[in-house]
Amino acid sequence: MHIMEGYLPIQWCIFWYVLSGIVWVYAIIQLKKILSEKPEVKPLLAISGAYMFILSSLKMPSVTGSCSHPCGNGLGAVLFGPAVTAVLASIVLLFQALLLAHGGITTLGANTFSMGVVGPFFGYLTYKALKGKINSTYAVGLAAVISDWMTYVTTSIQLTLAFPGDNPLHTFLAFATVFAVTQVPLAIAEGLLTMVIWDKLKELRPDLLLKLGVIDESEVPNVSVVTEGGE
């Protein structure tokens, strides 16, 4: 859920910029550490960011006939971890503002916090908690759903803080209900899509997932055959 340009008053713009700024600086330090050890991941990360952009601007067929956009940050968090996802998401959101006119520049801080920090973090936690216990496809699907829902809960909190009204709790419920109409089915749709993507990835290139350290070898017993097979 993007908060549109100009929606938040100035003090909340600054507040969310500072908050996501702290996470962002931490993530950049992590990223620098990774890049100084392995310079070859820089182009890879850039292209993965481009992939996240395509995924998040994808039109998903939904039940009502209207089209909606997935977030794509759940999959990102599972594949690359929450710190890298935060940096990639901040760039993706900047591009969405400047190339598609989604979101905004003053609200970039708030949007990064909900879509790049909180959502992926909970998605990552979900995946970590379920990893090895159930089939990784279901774990990823669930991570995508949870990360979507947490994103929209965070957005509701952000809007409530900016416009609390007489009773903040009621206002929060009102915002959450308005979003729930579109976000609850949308998150489930994104979870399903992520599951299909993951299934295919596991079938076609399990070596990539093993390299990233996101699945165990027990899940893909015949992996060595696939890797050596080549193209």
Binding site: E5, K42, R205
Partner: protein
Amino acid sequence: MKYSIDSIAFTNNLKDVNPKLKVLFSLLTLLVIVFSKSFIAPLLVFLISSYLIIFKAKVPAKVYFYLLLPAIGFGLFTVVFMGFWYGSEKIFSINLGFIEIGFTKEGLNQGILVFSRMLGGVSTMLFLALTTPMTQLFYVLRWLKLPKEFVDIAMMMYRYIFVLLDEFITMKNAQETRLGHKDIKTSYKSLGLLMANLFIRTWEKGEKLFITMSSRGYDGEIKVLKEIENPKLIYVIGIIIFEIFILIISILTSNIKVF
């Protein structure tokens, strides 16, 4: 729509104006708008930005209004929602027997303020997006001393968005000619298949890109020679005077309300 903002940014009439000036103008104006407690100043900014976009940059008015539509739609919804939700002093209300629905003065005023801010903000953001090529913005980001890793990744990402988009469209067309999107169930299957394949392509491209760059002397940082010269001081002063003017208007009119 995906190509159009980007292609307009490279072809409009203001593309040669110093990007530092455009960034300065947009950022300061956005700050003034979100600071404003009056709905008049953001509306004034909206008119000025629209004038600059349509008559100075010569962006087709149709494209510009199409891009504004979400802001208008969401803004109207906000006015209704806030008028219904906030405050207690009702202007008019309908009694439905069991529940009373009405609009409050405070809520409507707040809704109109947010609506005007959104119009002003989105038009100013569109001014930046429609008149400044992304490649020039990267120089500004670099000049602003943002971390090198961030700008490098952003630059490569921008380039690869369009490469991947081309691949995406090719694969989608291939699927559609084979009835891959005939109903919702097959659509999901095809879309998942497509994105999984795109991820694999992405990965292979990433590895190839590293080899390409290494063979041309890449050692962990991308070196850029071009610098953007600083704008003339008179223009900077002009922009600052304009912002102060808008700021004064927003303070003077902060007590004017619609209801």
